[in-house]
Amino acid sequence: MRKFVDLHLQPSVKDSDQVEKIVTRSSKLGYRLVGIPLPPNVTQDKVRQLRGICKDVGIDFVTRLDLTSKTPRQLLHELRRFRRRFEVISVVCTSKAVARQAAKDRRVDLLSFPATSSRRRFFDHAEAELASNASSSLEVDVAPLLSSKDFLRIRLLSTLRKEVAIAKKFGVPVSISSGATNLHLMRGPYDCVALASLFNMAVPLALCALSESPLTIVERNREKLSPDFVAPGIRLVRRKKDCLSV
C-alpha cells in the first residue's frame, strides 16, 4: 500500500492543541508521514513532544526547516549551520540569486516559491537544470490554490502548469504538500491528486509527488543524519569494541 506524505503542515508549533488537531486530521485523511517547519532554535524537548503527538496518532514525524535567506551568502551560512539539525531543509526563494544558489546546493531538499507573486517564481529552465543535478525537488503547496480566488488563482494555475512541465522535462522531482495552516485547508491525498490535474499533472506523477518523491528525500536524509553514515553507499557496520569481540 502507498505511503502518503505531507511535508508541509504549518500549525503554530507553540500551540500543542492545534498541532494535535492537525496531525489527527492528517492521519484520518490517510497520511503516514508529516513534516512541520520548526524555528531554527527549536529545543530537543519540543521536537520530542511533537514526535510524541504524531506517534500517538500513528504518524511518523519529520523535522523541517524553512530558510528564507535574502542573499546566497546568507543561505550558505544558514545551510552550514542548520543542515545537520533538521531532516528536511526547504528554501523559500525570494530572489533569483538565492533560487540559483539553492538549486545547485545538494544540501537543499525542497525549492519553494512564494505563491502570491508570480514574478517571484524563478523556476525556469536554468533553475530546473541546476536542481536536477543537485537532486533537489520542487515543492507545490495546495493551500494557496484553495485560498486564492479569481484572477490570482488563474495566474497561480498557469504558473504551476509551466513549472510542472519544466520539472518533468528536466527530471526534477515534484513534491506536493498541503501547506495548511488550519484544518479547513487540509485535503486527502486523492483530492490533492485531483487538484494537481488542474495544472496538468498526470495521476501517476501526482501520486508519486505525494508519496515516493518526499519519501525518498526523508529516507536519504535520515540515512545521512544517522551516526553510522560515512558517505553515500558506505555505512558503519561495527565499531571498535564490537570488532574486538569477533
Binding site: K28, L29, L145, L146, S147, N182, L183, H184, L185, M186, R187, G188, Y190, D191, C192, V193, A194, L195, S197, L198, V203
Partner: protein, 109 residues
C-alpha cells in the same frame, strides 16, 4: 454511460443545509471548469444528511477528477470556513455505502 458515486463529508463548525452544499459544489464546478465543463459532469445530488454532514453525489466517470477537484476547492459556505472530504468513490450506491461504512468502523475502532 458509466457513473461514479462519491460520498462526501462536510467539515465545519456551523450547520450546513443541503441547499448550501449543492450551491457550493455547483459554483465550484462552474468556477473551475465553466459551463461547458459543468455540462459534461452530469452532476446530481443523490442524498444529504445535514445532521451527520454526509452526502452522496453522482457524476459521469469521465468527470470524476473534475468533480473531485471542484469538491476539494470548496473552502467556505455562507462565508464560514469548511472543507469537503471525499470519503469514498464507487461505481454503485450499494458498494459505496458498504465502503464508507467499513471506513467508519475502522476509524472508530
Amino acid at each position: 454511460m458509466r457513473r461514479r458515486y462519491l460520498a462526501l463529508r462536510v467539515l465545519g463548525e456551523h450547520f450546513v443545509s443541503k441547499r448550501d452544499v449543492v450551491d457550493a459544489v455547483w459554483s465550484a464546478v462552474l468556477q473551475l471548469f465553466g459551463e461547458y465543463g459543468a455540462s459534461q459532469a452530469s452532476l446530481t445530488f443523490i442524498e444529504y444528511n445535514s445532521d451527520r454532514s454526509w452526502g452522496i453525489v453522482r457524476c459521469s466517470h469521465r468527470a470524476l477528477e473534475m468533480v473531485r477537484a471542484s469538491v476539494a476547492s470548496v473552502t467556505e459556505i455562507n462565508g464560514k470556513p469548511v472543507a469537503i472530504d471525499v470519503l469514498g468513490v464507487s461505481g454503485t450506491l450499494k458498494a459505496l455505502r458498504k465502503k464508507v461504512l467499513l471506513k467508519r468502523q475502522e476509524t472508530t475502532t
